[in-house]
Every structure is written in C-alpha cells, then in structure tokens.
C-alpha cells in the first residue's frame, strides 16, 4: 500500500468509528481571487482539464463584469479579494452531549419540533450508531442505484460520470449569465448531482440530508439535476433548522434539465443566519437557479420557503422550450428585523402551448424589505401560451416594506397573461378576533400567516410542510404586539 493510500485508509476508518463521512484536514488557499487560485482549486479537486478550462473561462469572463446593483437591496460593498475561495472541509468540533450546545439553538430546535437525534446530528454531537445518518444514506443509495438513479456529490459526479457533467454543466446557467454565476462557475466548491434515467419514477424524495459527504459544501454550491424522458423526481434542498456559516457570501447555482414528459419538483427551505435584531451579520445569499423544460410536456415546479439570510437575491426560473411544457413557481418569502429579500422568478415561454403559474407570498415584518421581481416572457413563435401570476404581500407593522416588480414581455398575440397582486396587513381586527377566542397574539400571527401562505405550503412534501409552518411562526416571533 502506498503512503497516500495508508494515510487515507487510516483516516477513513478512524472517521468511520465516529460515524462521519470521509474528511481530511487540508490547506487553505490564500485570500483573494486570481487565475492561480482557480487552478489551485481545480488541482486540489483533481479535476480533469476540461473542467479547469471551464473555470478559467468563467473567471476571465467574471473579470469583465460589474457587480449588479439593480436589486432592491442594500449592503456594504463586498471585497472579493478578501475572501478565501478554497478551504478543505474542516472537521466539526465533536461534542459529547447536547448540553454543550448553545441553549438558544436548542430552544429553536425544540420549537421546530426537530428530534433529539436530528439535533445531535446538526450540532455535531456524536450520533447513535442505529440512526447514524451515514448508514441510512448507504441503504438509500443502494435502493436508488438499483433503479439507475445517480445521486452524489458534484465532485463524485465529476470523477464517476464526467460525460454527464460535461454535457450539462453550464447548459442552463452559462457562466456568462450573470456576475455571481460567473463567480460560482470559476470557484464552485461542491454540491449535488442527480440523474434520473428514462422512464424512472424516483420512489423517494431526494434530499441533500441523505447524501454522503453533504456536510460543508462550501459557499459556492453547485447543483445539477437531469431528468431523462418520462422520469420523475422530487428534490429537497435545505432544512428548517437555522444554519450558521462563517462565510458571509453564498453564491450558488442550480441547473435542472427536464426532458420530454419528465417532471421535476424542486423544494427549498432556506434558513440561513439572517443577522441579529439590529441587522448585524447574516448571510448574503445570491443564487442563480434555473431549469429548462427541454422536451414536450415536461414540467418543472419550484417551491421555496425563504426565511433566512440577511440579503436574498434569487429568481428560480423556467425556460419552457418544449411544446406544452409547464413551469411553476410557488414562493413564501419572510423577512423580519433588517432582512432584505429580492426574489421571484422568470418564466420564458418558447414552446407553443406552454403554461406557467406563479404564486408568490411575501411577508414582511420589523424593518425588513421584501420584493417580488418576476418576468413573464412570451416568444414570437410561442402560440397559445398561458400564464397566471399571483403576487401577494402581507405586512406586519408599519416599518417594513413590500414591493412588486412584475415584468411582462409578450411577442405573440395569442398569449393569455394574467397578473394579480394584493397587499394586506395583518389587521388588529383579526388579532383581536383570535384573542377573543382565547388565542394569544403569537399564535394568532402564526395562524394568520400560515393561512396566508397555505397555497404554497401545500406544495411542499408533507413532513417538510409541517416544519415550514413552525418555521414561519418562529421567524415572526415577537414581530407583532
């Protein structure tokens, strides 16, 4: 056995007894970004030449771009040379019991109804072997393997399925797309890869939770999902538990390819650290998510519950290229304290008879600002397109803001495009009515907000929906009365 292999062996077996996935302490890149750093990242990950080329092209393009400033968000200018672009996943500090965890965090877990074992997993407390997530993940992976479904980390996919990655990487979100997409393409750390073969109905929700090596994918995450003709998959991203990260800037890319008659449901619950009550700290979340309905009768559905991050800049979009393909966007975005969210979607109708539906529910509280920004575009040759958009804003208190920026571009007169928008406040009348029935104000707000967001929450997988409901209430705790 070679020296390297020996070290690897030692580490893997050692890690296994703690029930954790392979992990190695590695050096960090120096601060800043230049071609050498890009090469360093690629070399560290043992990437093939074509991927390095992809990164370099993206980097060179990024240099020509200006940071966008059109979103309705304000934050101090980011110094991109003050960021470390590569550091190997660090081992989370091991704790012996939950008593060592920040009690505030435990309190939050309890309110969300997260099980003790799950709490341990998320805070790095050694987990019982029986429900060890690694072994769960292994069983899970075997079942998927039998169906020919590939679900692994992005790095694994590059090693094991380079032809697929090469074919689809950047095909929906090219590195030229926008500033953050270019940045991500140059320096992306890791992420997820999913591939559903022709005609396969994925029997379970694919969740990053069950993925081996999911821990610490870094601040520049990359997700690629390919659904071959006639296949179906429901994908879950994120979790309701609060996620803290020392990296303030997150710029992820999600690309989805949906072929003829295939369907992809992509659900997100995003609960990154939003900063404190005075707006200090918190994650900047600049994400590019886009999918293409490549074949006829393909369907792509985005559902998102956004409660975290100090600044959110995110527009999960559908390119409806195949005839009669369908795009959906269901969103609940909650902002409290000094959070800012500028989020929405783009529905690009290219194929004939394509349909899209947008349901956006913004909830603002505290001093926060919440914007919906959406584009419905109907191309010249897209006959008989239909779109329905519903954008509602709910305000709690009088120091927050809600904004709607709908853009509609129609180049074909047969299109039917409908847009409805409402703004409402949680009325004192509603709260009082609840109070008069014995319901305290906290629970009244939770009831009203969940009622308001119901149409979107109903689109989430069941167990996710229950947690998301609690999360909404928790995010708005103390915002009224």
């Amino acid at each position: 056995m070679s020296k390297d292999a020996e070290i690897l062996e030692e580490f893997t077996s050692k890690e296994y007894e703690h029930g954790w996935s392979v992990d190695f302490e590695a050096d960090e890149a120096p601060k800043g970004l230049n071609e050498d750093i890009v090469r360093f990242i690629s070399a560290k990950k043992n990437e093939p030449e074509w991927l390095l080329e992809f990164r370099l092209k993206a980097f060179r393009h990024w240099l020509t771009l200006e940071e966008p400033d059109w979103a309705a968000v304000n934050y101090p200018k980011i110094n991109f040379q003050d960021i470390i672009y590569y550091s190997a996943p660090k081992k989370q500090k091991k704790l012996d019991s939950l008593d060592e965890v920040d009690p505030e965090l435990i309190e939050t877990f309890k309110k969300l109804g997260i099980s003790i074992e799950e709490q341990k997993r998320m805070t790095g407390v050694a987990v019982d072997a029986v429900i060890d997530s690694v072994s769960v993940a292994t069983t899970f992976k075997e079942t998927l393997g039998e169906l020919g479904i590939i679900f692994c980390s992005f790095s694994e996919a590059v090693k094991d399925h380079p032809e697929l990655v090469k074919k689809y990487l950047g095909s929906v979100v090219p590195y030229t797309d926008n500033y953050y997409a270019a940045l991500n393409s140059a320096v992306f750390s890791d992420g997820s890869f999913g591939y559903i073969p022709k005609g396969v109905h994925c029997p379970m929700e694919l969740s990053t939770y069950f993925r081996i090596n999911a821990a610490n994918t870094g601040q520049f995450e990359r997700t690629l999902i390919v659904a071959e003709p006639g296949s179906y998959v429901s994908y879950l991203e994120g979790c309701t538990a609060p996620q803290r990260d020392e990296n303030q800037l997150h710029a992820a890319i999600v690309e989805i390819i949906v072929e003829t008659d295939a369907e992809v449901k992509y659900s997100t619950v995003q609960n990154w650290y939003p900063g404190d009550k005075n707006g200090k700290g918190g994650i900047y979340n600049f994400v590019t998510k886009r999918g293409i309905c490549n074949g006829d009768h393909a369907k792509l559905s985005w559902t998102q519950v956004e409660t975290g991050s100090a600044v959110t800049w995110k527009y999960p979009s559908c390119i409806l290229k195949g005839d009669y393909s369908v795009g959906e966007f269901y969103s609940v975005a909650v902002t409290n304290n000094y959070q800012q969210a500028d989020t929405g979607t783009k529905m690009i109708h290219i194929g004939k008879g394509t349909k899209s539906r947008i349901v956006s529910k913004g909830i603002s509280a505290g001093h926060s600002q919440n914007s919906y920004r959406g584009l419905v575009q109907v191309h010249k040759r897209a006959e008989n397109v239909r779109n329905f958009s519903q954008c509602d804003s709910l305000l709690l208190g009088d120091k927050c803001g809600a904004h709607t920026f709908p853009y509609i571009e129609v180049d074909n007169s047969s299109a039917q495009v409908e847009h409805e928008a409402t703004t409402s406040k949680i009325g004192e009348d509603q709260i009082f009515y609840c109070n008069q029935r014995g319901i305290d104000t906290e629970e009244a707000v939770a009831l009203i907000v969940n009622g308001y967001a119901k149409e979107v929450l109903n689109k989430l997988p069941m167990e996710f929906a229950v947690e998301a409901q609690k999360l909404l209430a928790l995010t708005l705790e103390g915002s009224v009365g």
Binding site: D429, F432, C434, N435, Q436, R437, I439, L447, N450, G451
Partner: protein, 251 residues
C-alpha cells in the same frame, strides 16, 4: 358573575360610556337595547378588552376579579365570549383549525389536556347540531365568503365549542332573516344553563321573542337610563326611542 360599576370609557378623547352600572348573575339573560350611537358596541368592546378604548374610570369585575388587569385572551379563557356584530375573515384558516387552536388554549388555561384530532372532531359534530351548521362550511376559510346568516351561526357555533361563562351577543340579529334568527336563538337557548349568563345587545325587540330576557336595559348616550323586564322591550318596539331621548335630553 359580572359587576360593572360607574364605567366610563372613551375613544380618541371622546367619551362614549358615561357611567355604566350593570350586574349580571349566573343563569340570567340581560338585553341591552338602545338607539344607534348610544354606546352598545363600545360596552361589549370594552368588556372584551379592545385596546382602542380607554377606560377612564369605574370598575368591572368578572367572576370576582377585576377585569382590567387581563388581556383579551385571558378574559376569553376565563369564560368571556363575544359574538361579533361583524365577524372577521381570516383567509386560509379553516374554522376547524381556528377553533382547535382556541379550544386547546382555553383548555390549557383551565388545566385540561389538549383534545386530540378525534376527540375534537367528535365534540365538533355534537355542537354542530346546535346551530344546524354544515361541516363543509367549517372546512372553508373562516368567515370568508360566508353569508350573513352563516357568519352569525358560526359565531354561536364557536360559543358552543368554547363553553363560556358569560356570552355577549353584539347585534347578532342584524342582517338575519327570520329562519336564521330562530336557529341562532335556539342555539343560544340550548346553551343556556344555571351556571352561565348572556347579554344580548340588540336594536330591535324581534330577537327577544326568541331569547327571553330577564332584564331589559336601555342604553342612551353612554348611560343605562332605564331597566325593566321583557315588557320594556315591547314598549320600545311600539313607541321607538324618541320618548327615551326626550326624557333624557339633558343626560
């Protein structure tokens, strides 16, 4: 059960209640009548604890305790129920879910365990008969798109579910046709017991044909200016409020 002494209350600096005295004992039904703007709805709002109103002086005891130290939800949990004149709509929240939250908070206050889904539905089925309410209605968003009659029936249904000690019906008869009125009145009468009491606030005598009051009070210009029995209601029906106004022109 309820003792109101010289209660004065105002909204935005304008005095509405100018010294109300009222005592309600268990088992009694009191009717409060009066012309528009006399302060009937203000009285119910102040008793239920609406924040917009300022209590300037006087006292209110409910079940032997001063009410002014308690929040609206605490009063509700103690057993004070207000049937709203204009029930509020809460989109996306079914009556069932709303009531489940309410019933369980009230039960917790009374030291009772939460009802599980089965027990709750069973209780609901029983109480639904009292006001002849359709289960489909209870699955819909609370009061949203309900007809006037459905809203009022829903109020009485909620009352049945929450089993209050004192119920204040604020113009529950307004906007009801005679059939709906009978159903609502029948619901109230069914729930009546020796342990609870009802205050019926109304403009017209009509409702009092179905809910027989023990006392009738006339509220005018922020004061109870006359108290009598059921006969007083008939007199008011016949003669209107003008003679009361004339008698108390300087009140």
């Amino acid at each position: 059960m309820l003792k109101v002494k010289n209660l004065k209350a105002s909204i935005e600096g304008k005095e509405i209640l100018k010294g109300i005295n009222l005592e309600v004992k268990p088992g009694e039904v009191h009717a409060i009548m009066g012309p528009n703007g006399s302060g009937k709805s203000t009285l119910s709002a102040v008793l239920a604890g609406r924040e917009e109103y300022t209590v300037d002086s006087g006292s209110v005891e409910f079940l032997g305790k001063n009410i002014f130290g308690s929040s609206p939800e605490e009063r509700a949990r103690e057993g004070l129920f207000l049937a709203f004149q204009y029930p509020i709509e809460i989109p996306g929240v079914s009556t069932t879910n709303f009531l489940r939250a309410a019933v369980n908070q009230v039960r917790a206050h009374r030291g009772l365990p939460k009802l599980d889904a089965v027990q709750f539905l069973k209780t609901m089925k029983e109480k639904m008969q009292i006001v002849d309410i359709d289960q489909a209605l209870l699955k819909r968003s609370l009061n949203e798109g309900f007809s006037g009659g459905e809203k009022k029936r829903n109020e009485i249904f909620q009352m049945a579910m929450l089993e209050p000690k004192l119920s204040i019906l604020d113009e529950t008869d307004s906007g009801l046709d005679i059939d709906a009125l009978k159903i609502v009145a029948n619901g109230v009468n069914t729930l009546k017991s020796a342990d609870n009491a009802t205050i019926v606030i109304t403009h017209y005598q009509r409702l009092l044909d179905f809910i027989i009051p023990d006392f009738v009070h006339v509220l005018y210009n922020g004061k109870i200016v006359k108290t009598g029995t059921k006969e007083l209601a008939y007199e008011l029906e016949e003669r209107g409020y003008d003679w009361i106004k004339a008698e108390h022109a300087n009140a």
